[in-house]
């Protein structure tokens, strides 16, 4: 599937800011399920590119002019293919690194109790466990737009039973790691529409390592595995290490207004 992405983020500030720095993880990774045909990241300020420890293509954006608005955009075309949600490991980090907890993905007593019934099976049939867990969480966590803030922890998500895609990914990862199953967080885009009405979204999902198979992705928010409609931008231990945009600024008001538009369209359908 050939997908055209137009992604624009605009930060508006009540008061002028003097300096801001951002890490932009807005370039799709190259892997067997996605090939970049063309890609371009732009931002207001000066951009330099580098690769982080997880192998994510990252840009550093520095804006040192006095502004009340900063716009960032990522545009391009990606060719995706459906590999049933399974990807090989890229060998960048040892797989067992993805067992470590982070502040957003630390299992508390409630999570440990929640996964306890799977302890045994996690060793004998981990794939089955991943499917069962994902099913359980889909039933238990109500997808609620705006119900959480970016920094909700996995423990909070289970406790309150509500969340968005990122929260569901965090909780799923935390459960898997608590069972000794390596799991990673993926941020990216999802194409949900059709040629009539191209639907668009920034999205997040998770993948679990299954020995002999690979990284198997699970998109709990959409009750699916990774498909040709998913474009992966960055992967990491959690949102904090793979956020598409992460920045700090000097000056400006306390409330920053962020305006995100993502347009993902399927190229070629119109012809």
């Amino acid at each position: 599937m050939r997908i055209v992405v137009r992604h624009r983020t605009v930060y508006n500030y009540d008061h002028a800011i003097r300096y801001s720095t951002q890490y932009l993880r807005l370039t799709p990774r190259s892997n067997p399920s996605q090939r970049i045909i063309r890609w371009n990241v732009e931002g207001q300020g000066r951009l330099t590119s580098w690769t982080d420890g997880f192998g994510n293509h990252t840009h550093t954006l520095v804006c040192d002019e006095i502004v009340t608005q900063i716009a960032v955009s990522a545009n391009g075309i990606v060719e995706t293919s459906d590999l049933n949600g399974v990807l090989p490991d890229e060998g960048i980090l040892p797989i067992k690194v993805f067992l470590r907890p982070t502040p957003l993905t630390t299992a508390d007593a409630e999570i440990r109790e929640f996964v306890a019934p799977f302890q045994e099976q996690a060793r004998t049939n981990p794939l089955e466990v991943a499917h069962s867990l994902s099913q359980l969480l889909i039933e238990r966590i109500v997808y609620t737009e705006g119900s959480t803030h970016v920094q909700s922890t996995a423990a909070e998500v289970l406790k309150y039973g509500r969340g968005v895609c990122q929260d569901m990914a965090h909780l799923f990862i935390t459960c898997l790691r608590a069972l000794g199953m390596p799991a990673l967080y993926i941020s990216g885009y999802l194409y949900t529409g059709d040629e009539e009405k191209p639907q668009v979204a920034s999205h997040a999902w998770a993948a679990v390592w299954i020995e002999g198979l690979g990284w198997v992705s699970f998109d709990l928010a959409n009750k699916t595995c990774g498909t040709e409609r998913h474009i992966g931008l960055a992967m990491g231990l959690d949102y904090a290490s793979s956020a598409p945009l992460r920045g700090v600024r000097e000056g400006g008001s306390e409330t920053e207004v962020m305006d995100v538009q993502v347009m993902v369209t399927q190229a070629g359908y119109a012809q």
């Binding site: 330099t48 580098w50 067992k96 690194v97 470590r100 290490s241």
Partner: protein
């Protein structure tokens, strides 16, 4: 200081005579003068755990600790060997991980360790050096028996005491310095600066080095200011630096100035809020990107904490053999690794004889000194161990060497340890001296300044 029969070791013969001729009153008077000098220098230390963190002077003892050239030769070679191996270990961990594949260190000890830094993976640090400044804590248990207690590879502190203790001693006892041939330590700041300049990213002709401090609330702030001053470099806080055009700049009155090397005294977690702790206001946003692009050197490198973690310590002698193919010159203290069943069982049986340490702790916090603890303290600690055995290691209580020390009752033996400083850059250099810490309480084995320890000047006799 003495042989078992009471006669002084050769290194101490002069000091022994000197002590015989000095009256207690005179020594006490010198001790008081030393305190005045330290107060005037403003050298203080913040003790955590007290209410609000009180700032106080570390007690200084005027009786020096002395090593012969021969004794020092071994310590210095042993420390160098250890630091070389640990540096190679870090390079390996952040590249091919041969050491894990060979089974020398268990995988999860590294990969599950919070100090292992995925952001360092696959990145070549300038000059291949991770541990530019290392402090190796060494204890002595018999004439030829030295053990490494721990390695300090993050941002070891205490070197300001080494330098100031010497300055004070030279003022108080100039006659001893003319009578004895004592190796100087005052070149440390020059050698440190040379080391740091030598690891600047390729091509920097006249590199700019800065010292990055978390600020005046940090326990070692005095040392940060002192070292920056001695080296003639800028002492900066995170807010004084910024990232632009894939470089790090320092704000100066004459405009931005590019920085090549950052001698950082702040922890990994706080160094870049875009990569690590988002709430950190101490770091430099964007620093990781410049670092990974090879356009600034950070000393010590990020992620060095994984190599000095107490869970890794038991494997260091094996690392020396693995990387250098040499026998370790300095031994480890025999260590029980409580993640191992047998070691755990033994330790729980012998808590009253052992020292038990948290694997991720430092500074003498969170440890049990069995022989010095009450039954209730031991039982409380037993529960902590059973709840999470892999969080602990245990070691026998060592018969630490003592050094004559001026205390209330007169001159009495007190237990000491030693921290030599090893600088690694284009070459590896051990300063002939170090920080001797002394447990001032009779019989105590805990020398940490946070736990009531003091310091002494350390003299290396030249041949």
């Amino acid at each position: 200081m003495t042989y078992p029969d009471g006669s002084p070791r050769p290194a101490y013969s002069h000091i022994s005579d000197w002590l015989k001729w000095s009256t207690l009153d005179r020594l006490r008077q010198r001790g008081a003068e030393a305190e005045v000098l330290f107060r005037r220098l403003g050298i203080t230390f913040v003790v955590y755990g007290d209410d609000g963190g009180t700032e106080r002077l570390i007690p200084f003892d005027v009786i020096p600790r002395v090593f012969s050239a021969g004794e020092w030769g071994r310590l210095s070679e042993g420390s160098t060997q250890r630091v070389r191996a640990l540096n190679m270990f870090l390079h390996d961990l952040y590249h091919d991980q041969e050491v894990l594949k060979a089974g020398i260190v268990p995988e999860d000890v590294i990969l599950a360790n919070a100090q292992y830094q995925p952001q360092m993976q696959g990145f070549n640090v300038p000059g291949g050096i991770y541990t530019h400044i290392a402090g190796i804590d060494i204890v002595r248990c018999a004439e030829n028996e030295f053990y490494v207690l721990e390695d300090n590879l993050r941002s070891p502190s205490g070197v300001a005491y080494m330098l100031e203790n010497r300055q004070v001693m030279m003022r108080l006892f100039p006659e001893l310095f003319s009578e004895m041939r004592i190796a100087p330590v005052d070149r440390y700041p020059d050698i440190l600066l040379k080391t740091l300049r030598g690891v600047a990213p390729g091509g920097a002709q006249d590199p700019t080095v800065v010292l990055l401090t978390p600020g005046s609330y940090n326990s070692a702030y005095y040392e940060h200011a002192f070292l920056a001053d001695e080296m003639g470099i800028e002492l900066v806080e995170g807010a004084d630096l910024f990232v632009a055009d894939n470089s790090v700049f320092m704000r100066t009155t004459e405009g931005p100035r590019r920085v090549d090397v950052i001698y950082r005294r702040i922890d990994d977690d706080f160094i870049d809020p875009l990569a690590f702790r988002q709430d950190s206001t101490l770091g430099v946003p964007g620093l990781l990107s410049v670092y990974r692009s090879g356009r600034v050197t950070i000393a010590n490198a990020m992620g060095t904490g994984v190599a000095d973690d107490k869970s890794v310590y038991p494997y260091v002698p094996a690392l020396v053999k693995f990387y250098l193919g040499e026998e370790p010159i300095l031994a480890n203290v025999p260590t029980y690794v409580l993640r191992e069943k047998d070691d755990l069982a033994y330790t729980l049986e012998h808590l009253d004889e052992l020292v038990v340490k948290e694997v991720h702790g430092s500074g003498g916090y969170g440890m049990l000194v069995g022989p010095a603890s009450s039954k209730a303290q031991i039982e409380a600690f037993r529960h902590k161990i059973i709840a999470n055995p892999s969080n602990y290691i245990a070691q026998p209580t060592l018969a630490l060497s003592t050094c004559p020390t001026l205390v209330e009752q007169g001159i009495a033996p007190r237990h000491v340890d030693l921290r030599p400083y090893v600088l690694s850059g284009e070459e590896t250099i051990v300063m002939p001296g170090g920080l001797t810490r002394v447990a001032l309480v009779e019989g105590s084995l805990v020398v940490n300044s946070s736990q009531g320890g003091g310091t002494k000047d350390t003299w290396i006799l030249e041949e």
